[in-house]
C-alpha cells in the first residue's frame, strides 16, 4: 500500500505542476552557476570560496570568466541598477550550469515525464487492446493481418524502432514523443490480449451468450473485455514505467521534449559535462526522482497483479 501512496503523491505533483502551483518558474536563473545544495555546502570545507563562487561564472571547461565581474557591472548599469537579482549562493537541491533551481526542475520534470509516460501508456493500451480483441475474437484473415503487422513491428528491437522514427521526425516536442511511444509499444499488450481472447472465446459463458442471442460486438466488449481488464491494467502500469525510461533516453539524445521544457531526460543530458566538474547534484536529483517514481509504479503493478489474479478469487 505504500506504493499506492507514493504513486498518488507523484500524480499530485504532476497535477500541481501542470496547474502552475509549483515549479512555475523553473527556468528562472535564481542561483549562481552550479550552486551547490544547501545542506551539502555547509558540510564542506569550501566555505571560504562561497563569496567567490557568487561572483565567478564557470564555463564548460571549469575556467572562470575573466571578465565576469566587469560584465556584471555593465549589466547592472544597463538595466538601471536593478540588475540581475542577487543570485543565491546555494539552492535547496543545488543549481545547474545556468543557476536554475534543481528542485523546481525536478518537480517540473516529474510533471512532464509522468505525463508523457501515462498518456503514451494509455494510448498504447487502447491500441493493443483493440487490436488484440479483434484478432483474438475473429481469427481468420483478421488475425493474420494483425499478426503480420505485429511480426513486422517486433522484428525491430524496440529502442531501435523508436530511435529510427525519432530520427525521421526530428525534434518536435512532447506530442511527438507520446505518439512515437504510443504507436510502437502496443505489441506486448496485443499479444497478451489476443491470447486472452482466444482463451475466452471458447469459454462456456461466451457460448452461452451466443446461445441467448448476443451479437459479436456485445460478446467482445461487454462479456469478454471485463474479464480481460486485469491483464490490461497490469500491462498499462508496466508500460508507464517503460515509457518513462524511454522518454528519458529520447530526451537525453535530444529527440524528446524540446528546450522550452524540462524532463528528467533533459536534466540527465546536462550530466556528463557536470560530472567532469564534480557537480553531481542534478544527476542525483533526477535519478532519485525517477527511481522513486519507477519503483513506486513497479511495486504498485505487482500489488495490482496479485490483487486481481483470478486464481486467487
Amino acid at each position: 500500500m505504500g506504493s499506492l501512496a507514493v504513486v498518488v503523491l507523484l500524480l499530485a505533483v504532476m497535477v500541481l505542476s501542470a496547474a502552475g502551483v509549483i515549479a512555475r518558474n523553473w527556468s528562472e536563473e535564481v542561483g549562481v552557476s552550479y550552486a551547490p545544495p544547501k545542506w551539502f555546502a555547509s558540510t564542506t570545507q569550501d566555505t571560504q570560496t562561497q563569496e567567490e563562487q557568487a561572483v565567478r561564472k564557470l564555463d564548460d571547461y571549469g575556467i572562470p570568466d575573466p571578465i565576469g565581474p566587469e560584465l556584471a557591472e555593465i549589466n547592472a548599469r544597463l538595466t538601471g541598477g536593478g540588475g540581475p537579482q542577487a543570485r543565491a549562493s546555494t539552492l535547496p537541491l543545488g543549481g545547474d550550469k545556468w543557476g536554475r533551481d534543481v528542485l523546481r526542475k525536478v518537480l517540473k520534470g516529474t510533471e512532464v515525464s509522468l505525463f508523457v509516460g501515462i498518456t503514451a501508456a494509455c494510448l498504447t493500451a487502447l491500441l493493443g487492446t483493440l487490436f488484440g480483441a479483434l484478432a483474438g475474437y475473429f481469427g481468420g484473415w483478421v488475425d493474420d493481418a494483425f499478426n503480420w503487422i505485429y511480426s513486422v513491428f517486433t522484428s525491430i528491437p524496440y529502442l531501435l524502432l523508436v530511435l529510427a522514427i525519432a530520427a525521421v521526425l526530428g525534434h518536435k516536442g512532447i506530442a511527438t514523443v507520446i505518439l512515437i511511444l504510443g504507436f510502437t509499444g502496443w505489441t506486448g499488450i496485443f499479444r497478451l490480449v489476443r491470447a486472452e481472447y482466444l482463451k475466452h472465446k471458447v469459454r462456456e459463458y461466451v457460448l452461452a451468450a451466443d446461445a441467448v442471442g448476443a451479437s459479436d460486438m456485445r460478446r467482445m466488449f461487454v462479456h469478454i473485455l471485463p474479464n480481460v481488464s486485469h491483464v490490461v491494467l497490469v500491462q498499462l502500469s508496466l508500460h508507464v514505467v517503460l515509457f518513462i525510461k524511454s522518454e528519458v533516453i529520447l530526451s537525453f539524445l535530444g529527440f524528446g521534449v524540446g528546450v522550452e521544457t524540462v524532463s528528467w531526460g533533459s536534466m540527465l543530458a546536462e550530466a556528463p559535462s557536470e560530472l567532469i566538474l564534480g557537480m553531481w547534484w542534478q544527476i542525483a536529483a533526477a535519478t532519485a526522482a525517477m527511481a522513486l517514481a519507477v519503483t513506486a509504479f513497479s511495486l504498485f503493478t505487482d500489488a495490482v497483479r496479485d490483487a486481481l489474479d483470478p486464481r486467487l478469487q
Partner: protein, 501 residues
C-alpha cells in the same frame, strides 16, 4: 497389527479446520475406502499421511506406521506411496516414463542406471504396458496408460501401503474398470495394504473391505463395506446412498409431435472428423440421452444441434422447416443449452440479474428493466433460489447453485428444446440428485424436449426415454432405454454397460 493407525488426526489451515480429529486403521494387506464429496477432507487426510500438505497447514494427532510413529519424509516413495487423480499433469512432461520410474528405484534402492532400467521394464510389463514404451514421453500415452505408469512408480519399491487418491475419476468408464482390476491384482500379488479415496460409492464395493464416510472433516460412519452399504446408520451415508441415480425412467405413453429432426449431421475440423453423420429425432416432452466417453464427439453434436458450431454436412429440421432458414434469434429462442462447467458458464463479472435479464432484453421480452427483473426473479424462484440472488455475483454461489442459475437463464426465453451437456457431471452426487429432480419437474411443467448428454450411464438410464451411444463421432446404437440397457446389440455398448456394472 495394522499397517496404518491414525488417531485424532487434525489439520488446520489458519483458522479453518479441514480435518477434525478423525481416527481409522488399515489392517495389513487390507483395503480401506475413504469416501466423501468435494470438501470433505479426504484428500487432505491422504496428503497428511505422507507429509505433502502446503506450508501453512498445522497437523495434530498421531499417525503410526507398522506400529511406530513415523516421519513422513522418510517413508514416502518407498514404504508408503501414492497415486494421484490426474495422470497427465502428475507426470513430468520432459522426462521419459522409464526415467521417472527408474528414479524411484535409484533413489531408494540405490540401483545403478542399468539395473534400474531392467527393473523398470519388468515393472512396465507388470502393470500391463509394453516394455518398449520405456522411453516414451507421458504425452505419447493415453490417460489409462499414464495411470499405469503412475502405479508402476508407486509399487516400484514394494511399499507396504498404497494410497490411491481418486485414481480412476479422470478416466473413461471402460478404462476405469481395467485400472481397478490392475490395482486389485497388484495388491493381492504384492501383499500391499491400500487406502482408496473416492467420491463414488459405487466403486467401494468392488475395491475395499472396509469403508469410512467423510463429511466436512469428520468421519460420519465406518465399518465393513457390506454392512455400511446395506444398513447405513448415519443419515449422511443414507443420503449418499439414496442420491445415486437409480432405476429407469418410466416409459412414455403415446406419441408426440416431432420437433427436431437431424439427418446426417457432420462436423470436421481440418482433417479430424468429430461427428460423422448423426441422425436422430426429438419429440415434444421426451428426453433423448446421448452417451459416450471423452472424445466421442457428443459435446460437438450438442453444439451442432444448438447451432453454436456450424455443421460441415447434413441437415437439421425444426418443426419440419430447415433450421438454417430460420432467423437466428428465432431459433435461439426455441433451443437452449446448459453447459457442464458451473464455474465457466456464468460470466464472473455479471451479476446474476444481469445474466438473466440479458436474453430478455435481446429478445425484447418484458416492457422495461423493472419488468425484466421481475421475470428474472420469478425464474430464480422456479429453480429453487431466492430473488436476493439477482444482486449477487457467481463466485458467491456453490457449483450446484450456479447450475441452477444457468438453467434459469436457459428457461428465460421459454425454449422448446433444452440441451443438457453433461449438466450435472461436475457436481457432487447429492447435488446431482437434486438437479436431476429439478430438470424432471421443469420438463413436465413446460413440456420441453431434452437432449441429455452424459458419460454417466446410470444417470442417463434414469433420465432418458431413448438413448444414443456414440463412439469416435459415430452413433453406434440407438433405441429405447429399456431395450438398450437390457439387450445391447453393439459390442461397444456391451463393453460400456459391463464396465459400469
Amino acid at each position: 497389527m495394522s499397517v496404518l493407525a491414525v488417531r485424532d488426526l487434525e489439520v488446520k489451515f489458519g483458522g479453518f479446520e479441514a480435518v477434525k480429529r478423525i481416527s481409522f486403521e488399515i489392517p495389513e494387506q487390507g483395503t480401506l475406502a475413504l469416501v466423501g464429496e468435494s470438501g470433505s477432507g479426504k484428500s487432505i487426510t491422504a496428503l497428511s499421511i505422507v507429509g505433502l500438505l502446503p506450508g501453512n497447514a498445522t497437523v495434530g494427532g498421531e499417525i503410526s506406521f507398522l506400529g511406530r510413529r513415523i516421519k513422513p519424509s522418510e517413508v514416502r516413495g518407498a514404504q508408503i506411496s501414492m497415486v494421484f487423480q490426474e495422470p497427465m499433469s502428475s507426470l513430468n512432461p520432459v522426462f521419459s516414463v522409464g526415467f521417472q520410474i527408474g528414479e524411484v528405484l535409484r533413489e531408494h534402492r540405490g540401483l545403478s542406471r542399468r539395473e534400474a532400467r531392467a527393473r523398470t521394464a519388468d515393472l512396465l510389463e507388470e502393470v500391463g504396458l509394453a516394455r518398449e514404451r520405456i522411453d516414451a514421453y507421458p504425452f505419447q500415452l493415453s490417460g489409462g496408460q499414464q495411470q499405469r505408469v503412475m502405479i508402476a512408480m508407486a509399487i516400484a519399491c514394494e511399499p507396504k501401503l498404497l494410497i490411491a487418491d481418486e485414481p480412476t475419476s479422470a478416466l473413461d468408464v471402460t478404462v476405469q474398470r481395467q485400472i481397478l482390476e490392475l490395482i486389485a491384482a497388484l495388491q493381492a500379488r504384492r501383499r500391499m495394504a491400500m487406502l482408496f479415496i473416492t467420491h463414488d460409492l459405487g466403486l467401494v464395493g468392488r475395491v475395499a473391505e472396509r469403508v469410512a464416510v467423510m463429511r466436512a472433516g469428520e468421519i460420519r460412519e465406518q465399518g465393513p463395506v457390506a454392512e455400511v452399504l446395506a444398513a447405513p446408520r448415519d443419515s449422511y451415508t443414507r443420503m449418499l446412498l439414496d442420491s445415486r441415480p437409480r432405476g429407469i425412467r418410466e416409459p412414455a405413453k403415446g406419441d408426440t409431435e416431432v420437433i427436431v429432426e437431424a439427418r446426417g449431421l457432420a462436423k470436421r475440423f481440418d482433417d479430424f472428423e468429430a461427428v460423422k453423420g448423426a441422425s436422430f429425432s426429438l419429440a415434444r416432452g421426451r428426453t433423448l440421452g446421448l452417451v459416450g466417453e471423452s472424445g466421442s464427439g457428443k459435446t460437438t453434436l450438442g453444439l451442432l444441434l444448438a447451432r453454436l458450431q456450424r455443421a460441415s454436412g447434413g441437415e437439421l429440421r425444426f418443426h419440419g422447416r430447415d433450421a438454417a432458414a430460420l432467423p437466428p434469434l428465432e431459433f435461439k429462442r426455441r433451443m437452449q443449452i446448459v453447459f457442464q462447467n458451473p464455474y465457466a458458464s456464468l460470466n464472473p463479472r455479471f451479476s446474476v440479474g444481469a445474466t438473466l435479464t440479458e436474453p430478455l432484453r435481446i429478445h425484447a421480452i418484458g416492457g422495461g428493466e423493472a419488468e425484466r427483473r421481475e421475470i428474472a426473479a420469478g425464474l430464480l424462484v422456479k429453480v429453487g433460489l431466492t430473488r436476493e440472488a439477482l444482486f449477487k455475483y457467481p463466485h458467491e454461489f456453490s457449483g450446484g447453485q450456479r447450475q441452477r442459475i444457468a438453467i434459469a437463464r436457459a428457461l428465460a426465453l421459454g425454449p422448446e428444446v433444452l440441451i443438457c451437456d453433461e449438466a450435472v457431471s461436475a457436481l457432487d452426487v447429492s447435488i446431482q440428485a437434486q438437479l436431476l429432480n429439478l430438470l424432471r419437474s421443469l420438463q413436465d411443467e413446460y413440456s420441453m424436449s431434452y437432449l441429455f448428454i452424459s458419460h454417466d450411464l446410470a444417470v442417463v438410464k434414469a433420465m432418458a426415454d431413448e438413448v444414443m451411444v456414440m463412439k469416435d463421432g459415430e452413433i453406434v446404437e440407438q433405441g429405447t432405454t429399456a431395450e438398450l440397457y437390457a439387450n445391447p446389440k453393439h459390442p461397444y455398448t456391451r463393453r460400456l454397460l459391463s464396465a459400469a456394472a
